[in-house]
Amino acid sequence: MTVSLLSVLRSSLALSASLLVAIATAHASPASAVAPTASPSRASATATAADFNGTWKIDLHRSTELSPWKSLELSFDIKGDHVVLHRVFAWGRRTFKETLDLNLKQEVNLVPTPWWPDNRHLGAYSTGDHTKRVRVAWLDGGRLLRLSSDLTLETQQGNREVNILSDYKLSANGAVLMLTELRSTRNRPIVYVFTRVAAAPASAQP
């Protein structure tokens, strides 16, 4: 599975070597490895983890095609074991905002999922109790934040359990954030590249 996945990647995507390494790293780590008891690096990662804080905007040219959305913005607010991640999808005036409030001390975080915005081209919808179960961990000395999300999607034939492995990895200089997602039902990885949105100068703030 891993070999064929990388083969597909090499032949069909013009991804950088660092990206391939990132994907291989993500794929080699089973989701179970992010259980709290199996993640010794979590407690020591806060120094680098703080570099996630702030707002990140997708670089469409370096990312997997995002349609039907035209932009995606992430905001991290990380304090100790508490990670708050905001995702804002937008297409003109149409937007979808989602907040993931995650506690690293909890084995599983229940996150409200009223809507599944990830791929609106597909006939697949958030359903059931409209929550996803998210396991979260720091890896690689705090440069990699891994989320393993289990959710149920409704399709024309009924409900289907899906796992999404989301790796948020910071570049060494902290300027680029790369999100690699592996969805259990999808044959290709999704790679989104983000750059940091500079904080507005103090005089420009209301």
Binding site: P68, R93, H121, G123, A124, Y125, Q156, Q157, N187
Partner: protein, 555 residues
């Protein structure tokens, strides 16, 4: 008693006839046969207010007047024009109707006036400082039988013997649109058509593409780009006033302003009055084509792959059907690959009277793999959830009539009144699904959605299916193939019925290539076969819009 029974029968017959005639009552008169000769003027690429719009507006208004009683003037829009059909149609009219076009130079307003100024009683001056004054000028031109000129074109009009009928210069400066159109209503509304209201919206700002203004002038329609957005309460109030006064089942022709409101907001409001939306603002030459009859040797024949009462037995496999619905005139009809795979095309049904030669062109140009369906939700573009229940039967009677004329057996439905392909929902509650089954007993099935949706049903042998996949124009083939494969994984039962909606300019070649990349076998079948297979083995769950589904009113 017998007399009473006879009277009741007569009344019932008369009521039935009036329903059937509701669509045809709007139809402009056709000439007995296409004229042997007509004038053709090419138009330039520049549609800017500070560019060629003044000249285009003059020519468009003259076209409406010249074509009022007979088709005389055809405009050849630039190659980049959204309605690519405008050029192939010239060849079709020459070939099938024996027409000859006398071609003038590009933007030749003087040449046009030389030939056709006799159809104008004068001119109406618009104010180049006020964009909306041009739309008011189109309204005035239709009512007063004038051509539309900007200040610098007055000498040209007067050179051809035309006198001033209305002068809008300076009248609207500094005024908001609701005030401008209120003035226009006070001045001209009572003399405007109750069958057509024309929305010359779409492109905004410095760009204007009022391609359908010729028909507005021919029909003496009121023209505006009033907003249906609650953020513009004065414009919305005026728009409500206008729509409420139009005839039942009449037509709103054109398109909403991209700068003011959304397609969802505008079409929802039009539906609230039981009116028929028919796009777009830039559809060309309607004053000409609406008068051209079908050739005597032609009748509409669809490519039915199965008889209406056929029963098929599906295999344990994935069945795919692909469908394009953004109008054949602006889509992939002339692009590479058509005929390569079975493909469905939603017909703009009102073109049977608005643009008969274009529909004849499509029907005669179809390959064995092209299959036509009806839409969109009724006789035109409308959202069923927005239509008052008491207005629904009359509209759907018109749709049945159009479908019969066009040999169509599938009705496609779209509803953006509570969402779109990004947010909210595009599904139908059971009560609306019930209405469609009741109103269309002769169809072989229904299609719902635009983006993906999840309204599914099967009653007797007529499935009601929603799109499973939306192929975005921007979507690369490898990602699209991954999308389709993901759907196949998400739906493990076989047969699996995967209906694809293909957006606008995606080519058939691209779709065939995407399907060719799949690592799992699928069978691409014609839409009527697809529906018959889906009728035979229901692996999809019955589902309607639920009260808990998200609603987004398209802000």
């Amino acid at each position: 008693m017998k007399l009473l029974a006879r009277l009741l029968r007569t009344a019932a017959l008369s009521a039935a006839l009036s329903l059937v005639a509701s669509a045809s009552g709007l139809e402009p008169r056709k000439v007995d046969r296409a004229p042997a000769q007509a004038t053709l003027i090419p138009l330039s690429e520049n549609w800017r207010m500070d560019g060629d719009i003044p000249t285009h507006a003059l020519i468009l208004s003259l076209q409406g007047l010249a074509n009022r009683e007979s088709p005389r003037l055809y405009l050849e829009y630039p190659k980049s024009w959204q309605w690519e059909i405008v050029r192939p149609l010239v060849g079709f009219l020459e070939r099938r109707h024996g027409m000859r076009f006398d071609r003038l130079a590009e933007n030749d307003a003087a040449g046009a006036l030389q030939r056709f100024s006799r159809f104008a009683k004068g001119y109406v001056v618009w104010d180049r400082e006020v964009r909306s004054s041009l739309l008011v000028a189109f309204t005035a031109a239709g009512v007063l039988d004038g051509v539309v000129v900007s200040e610098e074109l007055i000498p040209l009009a007067e050179k051809h013997g035309l006198k001033k009928l209305e002068d809008l210069r300076g009248r609207f400066r500094g005024q908001p649109d609701h005030q401008i159109y209120r003035w226009a209503k006070d001045a001209y509304w009572s003399r405007c058509s109750r069958d057509y209201y024309v929305v010359l919206g779409g492109h905004a700002g410095m760009e204007m593409q009022p391609g359908v203004a010729d028909f507005a002038i021919k029909a003496r329609a009121f023209c505006a780009d009033l907003s249906a957005n609650p953020a513009h309460p004065e414009e919305l109030a005026l728009l409500n006033e206008l729509l409420a006064q139009q005839n039942p089942g009449s037509v709103v022709l054109g398109w909403h302003s991209y700068a003011k409101d959304t397609e969802g907001q505008h079409t929802t409001l039009v539906g609230n009055y039981g009116l028929i939306m028919e796009g777009l603002h830039n559809v060309p030459n309607v004053s000409f084509t609406c008068q051209i009859p079908l050739t005597p040797d032609f009748t509409f024949r669809n490519n039915h792959s199965v008889a209406k009462d056929t029963r098929l037995k599906p295999e344990k496999k994935v069945y795919v059907a692909a469908l394009a619905t953004d109008s054949m005139g602006i889509g992939a009809w002339t692009k590479p690959g058509r005929g390569k795979i079975p493909y469905g095309w939603q017909v703009l049904m009102n073109w049977v009277w608005m643009n008969p030669p274009a529909l004849q062109f499509f029907y005669e140009d179809k390959t064995p793999n092209d299959y036509f369906i009806g839409g969109l939700s009724g006789p035109g573009y409308m959202y069923p959830k927005s239509i008052p229940p008491d207005k629904f039967p009359r509209l759907m009677a018109s749709a049945r009539d159009l479908m019969a004329r066009l040999d169509l057996r599938v009705m496609e439905i779209m509803d953006y009144s509570e969402g779109n392909r990004h947010v909210g929902n595009t599904d139908l509650p059971k009560e609306i699904v019930d209405r469609y089954y009741h109103e269309f007993p002769d169809v072989i099935g229904f299609i719902n959605g635009y983006g993906s949706a999840r309204t599914f049903d099967l009653r007797d042998t007529r499935p009601f299916l929603s799109y499973e996949y939306y192929l975005d124009v921007e979507r690369p083939e490898d990602e699209a193939a991954a999308d389709v494969e993901e759907l196949i994984q998400l739906n493990p039962r076989r047969p699996y019925f995967l209906l694809m909606h293909i957006r606008e300019t995606n080519t058939v070649e691209k779709v065939a290539s995407i399907l060719g990349r799949l690592s799992e076998p699928v069978e691409v079948v014609p839409l009527d076969v697809f529906l018959k297979l889906a009728a035979a083995e229901k692996t999809y769950r019955t589902n309607y819009q639920k009260p808990s589904d998200p609603v987004d009113l398209n802000p």
